[in-house]
């Protein structure tokens, strides 16, 4: 049996497959459908300082090869997350690693969430969300080099836990933003959040999504995610978590060969909750077939042929 474990962010991940933020709630919702403690880990729904009501419907719609969503970061807020959601994760996820996705309107918001959580048990670290396309200020930090740098430095000063920054694809060069995060003290990067998109109901001549635009996810964005992971990983020496359209071991291996140390499975869960288990099995099967001992041996192991 292939060894799928990966050591990074000061911890061992029993497999490189995590569930992506926003697609697995706070874990409990999928408890009867996914063997959560047998996967690498999960990233929670975003947690903000105050509860957020979210956007009006429609919030989701299908598009070829994926979906578009504009949930608007609806979440229970820091206090209820700590009292209602985190205890379940602490009790039930002993071997899988938990990252808490953190979002805020201002640097003070992010700081308050991280400070509020930092002494709690039951999670490894944070995924800092600077890349939500579905709220007015969702990509404020993710697309402003100075604001991003200051935010990561501020949070770095607050916690010794792993800080992973989830990047937006919506910048001219993701490598620039990846380096900013690394220099500001981030321990890792998640690449990528959804792409901004829009669908129109031509009969009604109205946007399909209540928020007008939304974030596109699913297999449709896989090649962009692989490319941006490759670019981000090439720009930094901290680990990168690859995200975007993964639904098989082969999809995950594209990200890993491009330089991702871990991957996240998101929208595919909606098609089949067994997706993360299938992805893990696919990676293991590949490793056995190619006689690869450790996942780490595959990270960034892409060969780009010399041009004649």
């Amino acid at each position: 049996m292939a060894d799928l474990s990966q050591r990074l962010l000061g911890a061992t991940f029993q497999t490189p497959v995590l569930l992506a933020s926003g697609t697995c709630g706070y874990g409990e919702e999928y408890a009867s459908l996914i063997p959560l403690d047998e996967i690498g880990g999960l990233v929670t729904k975003a947690v903000s300082l105050e509860p957020r009501p979210g956007n009006p419907p429609h919030r989701v719609a299908e598009t070829p090869g994926g979906m578009i969503n504009a949930i608007g970061l609806q979440n229970v807020g820091l206090d209820r997350f700590r009292s209602e959601k985190l205890p379940w994760l602490r009790e039930n996820l002993r071997s899988a690693r938990v990252l808490i996705n953190v979002v805020g309107h201002s640097a003070e918001d992010y700081e308050a969430v991280v400070s509020g959580l930092d002494s709690d048990d039951g999670f490894l670290g944070y995924e800092i969300n600077v890349s939500c396309p579905n709220v007015k200020d969702g990509t404020l930090f993710g697309t402003d080099e100075r604001a991003l740098s200051e935010l990561v430095k501020d949070l770095r000063a607050l916690t010794d836990r792993p800080l992973v920054v989830k990047l937006t694809p919506n910048v001219p060069d993701i490598g620039v933003y990846a380096r900013i995060c690394e220099e500001a003290g981030a321990d890792g990067l998640s690449a990528i959040n959804t792409f901004p998109g829009m669908l129109i109901d031509v009969e009604a001549r109205r946007p399909v999504i209540g928020n007008v635009s939304g974030g596109v996810s699913g297999p449709a964005i896989l090649p962009m995610g692989v490319y941006l992971t490759w670019r981000a990983a090439a720009a930094v020496s901290i680990p990168v978590i690859g995200i975007g359209g993964i639904r098989s071991g082969s999809d995950a291996l594209q990200y890993i060969l491009a330089g991702a140390s871990l991957v996240q499975v998101g929208t595919a869960l909606f098609v089949d909750p067994s997706a993360p288990v299938q992805v893990q099995a696919g990676i293991a099967e590949y490793m056995e077939r190619h006689d690869v001992a450790r996942v780490a041996d595959l990270v960034g192991a892409l060969t780009i042929p010399e041009r004649e």
């Binding site: 697609t23 697995c24 459908l33 009006p56 919030r59 070829p64 949930i71 098609v271």
Partner: protein, 259 residues
């Protein structure tokens, strides 16, 4: 509520029941075992079916048999329902369920089901269940045109109830809407499922007669289990609540009915 199950179900039967409308029976004992009227199942063809529209679709459970069979009413609206309705006996469907909050059937009232279009589906199950409990149940079922009326013989077979048919063009059953000319003297529990304007009219009817009403709502859905928070409806308190886990059945007083 029993936690949902993910299972492959084998299609046993597919029959055309009206224009663009099919009745599909699937063998899936693990989901059938705990299914309640008003609950739904996400139906899809799985990750390896790359030709499929991406997301699975929610369907009210239309029937449940003790041998593990589940029945679904499928009408073709778009690419997803077209793909699913093309399955035939021997094909497998990926199923997630049973999901959501079922109808709550009070012991002390008769039941009147108000069904608009494919909103008939949950009431096939309600009808069969109420009959087996020897409860009085009426199914008032409306369509725009007669060619879309789900085979009344099949309704009788599934539920044992003679449906009170209405069509807007009068080509089958009584001409009119499901809320027209109802005998509500025995102060029944109203249940409604159908398009939004119909649900609004049912809510007005319930308020006018001071009758209890439960509605089964439909909104675009992603996961079906409460994680993506895509399928929200507005609560009476002004909060977005999930139709998948907090619904799809709501007491009418739990919802905001503003336009």
């Amino acid at each position: 509520m029993t936690p949902p199950v993910r299972a492959w179900g084998r299609v046993l039967e597919r029959r055309k029941a009206a224009a663009d409308t099919f009745w599909i029976e699937v063998d899936c004992p693990s989901i059938a075992e705990h299914a309640r009227p008003g609950q739904f199942v996400m139906l899809g063809t799985g990750l390896s079916d790359v030709a499929a529209p991406f997301l699975p679709r929610p369907f009210s459970i239309g029937a449940r048999e003790d041998d593990g069979r589940l029945g679904f009413l499928l009408r073709v609206f778009g690419a997803g329902t077209r793909h699913l309705s093309a399955v035939g006996p021997g094909d497998d469907l990926l199923m997630l369920g049973p999901l959501g909050r079922p109808f709550s059937l009070p012991a002390d009232r008769s039941i009147v089901c108000l069904a608009g279009g494919v909103g008939l589906a949950p009431f096939l199950f309600v009808g069969a269940e109420a009959r087996s409990d020897e409860r009085e149940v009426r199914i008032v079922y409306g369509e725009r045109t007669g060619d879309r009326v789900f085979d009344p013989e099949l309704i009788r077979r599934i539920t044992g109830v003679e449906p009170d048919l209405r069509t807007e063009d009068g080509s089958l059953g009584r001409r009119g809407l499901v809320i027209d000319d109802l005998d509500l003297d025995d102060r029944p529990q109203l249940l409604a499922c159908g398009p939004d304007p119909m649900l609004r009219a049912c809510n007005d009817l319930a308020l006018r007669h001071d009758l209890p009403l439960q509605v089964s709502v439909e909104e675009h859905m992603g996961c079906g289990v409460g994680t993506c928070q895509g399928c929200v409806v507005l609560s009476a308190e002004g909060e977005w609540i999930k139709s998948c886990t907090e619904g799809p059945v709501f007491d009418s007083r739990e919802l905001a009915w503003r336009t």
